[in-house]
Symmetry: C2
Amino acid sequence: MTTTQTPLSPTPRSTVRRLGNRARTDRTELYRVLDAGLVCHLGVVIDDTPVVLPTGYGRIENTLYLHGSTGAATLRAATAGAPVCVTVTHVDGIVYARSVFHHSMNYRSAVVHGPARPVTDDDERLAGLRAIVEHLAPGSWGHARLPTTKEMAATAVLAVDLTEASLKVRTGPPIDDDADVADPSYWAGVLPVRTGFGTPQACPLLPPDTLAPPHVTGR
Amino acid sequence: MTTTQTPLSPTPRSTVRRLGNRARTDRTELYRVLDAGLVCHLGVVIDDTPVVLPTGYGRIENTLYLHGSTGAATLRAATAGAPVCVTVTHVDGIVYARSVFHHSMNYRSAVVHGPARPVTDDDERLAGLRAIVEHLAPGSWGHARLPTTKEMAATAVLAVDLTEASLKVRTGPPIDDDADVADPSYWAGVLPVRTGFGTPQACPLLPPDTLAPPHVTGR
């Protein structure tokens, strides 16, 4: 369905073929893309209208977990068993081509389709939340205070099976038309995009000179 | 609709109030968030199912422009006048709270709702594409070869009005329960997340030692 759309350049079929098939089926690579993301974009349909919101997530084996307030409309829509789409995208580089038409982006994007299963089993709820917290902040489960019964009750946990997930990846230099490649007046290449962490900023309410723990500083 | 959902921690109403209202209405700030993004997540409904895909975009005043291959299913769905949701999210920091429940993320997220208007006027189509290219790769319009008639014909351009766009922002340290703040055994703070550009990688088909132009190196 999406093989003819790239993130940033309109890509007719002939170009898709030249670029190779961007869809990947390897599970390991899918998991790597999901595990490396910080935020996903959760899409649900509310009153026939798409709603796309950023949210946290975690993974346990072939299941993706989401959570949210029991009062949130998007979560309510999803917990009604409606289909959801969860997309995690890494932008790896800006692809400068010799023509504006072939400008593109290097990226990895995992797209998860499926019904969202409301998690009701207490053990799985806790495991799902742990996966979400450890995905966001590895090491926090065990350092920070764990959820109370009241906090658990305020939290909706959803599970989405990853069997129907797909992965699209673009890597490498621009693919230009031969006539443009022959013209030396155009520069072409890739500007890498990098995401990293800065220096931890301690909460102002901590005692002065409190050191950040290794699970934060070592990230 | 979404004021009770935060990206990463389940947030009951009482907490939303304590955090302040994350919804912002300032146009300048909305534009700044949109203009600083590299990729948006476009949500459409196809066969009653949400589809969320990363794609490029550009902005001219109060209009967002999207494009894609005329053959892409998501674009076809949008060009049929169906409602779309376009979301641009910046992750600014991981919020380590004293409880896992209050873990969160500092972020800026613009959410654009509306019908996607197929752009048919040639001048607006070209202006929209220019905005998209200049958003992705500032300076490329004028350096790279401009679109041919055939390339223009292969490209669908969509416009979404920004009047109904909303902005949510979370900044600052974690908001913890008083009892947790009183316990010095927990570290709390924010780990900043930064996105930047690396060193340009020249296309292997360029003559050796071709220098990248200032609009790439100076980014």
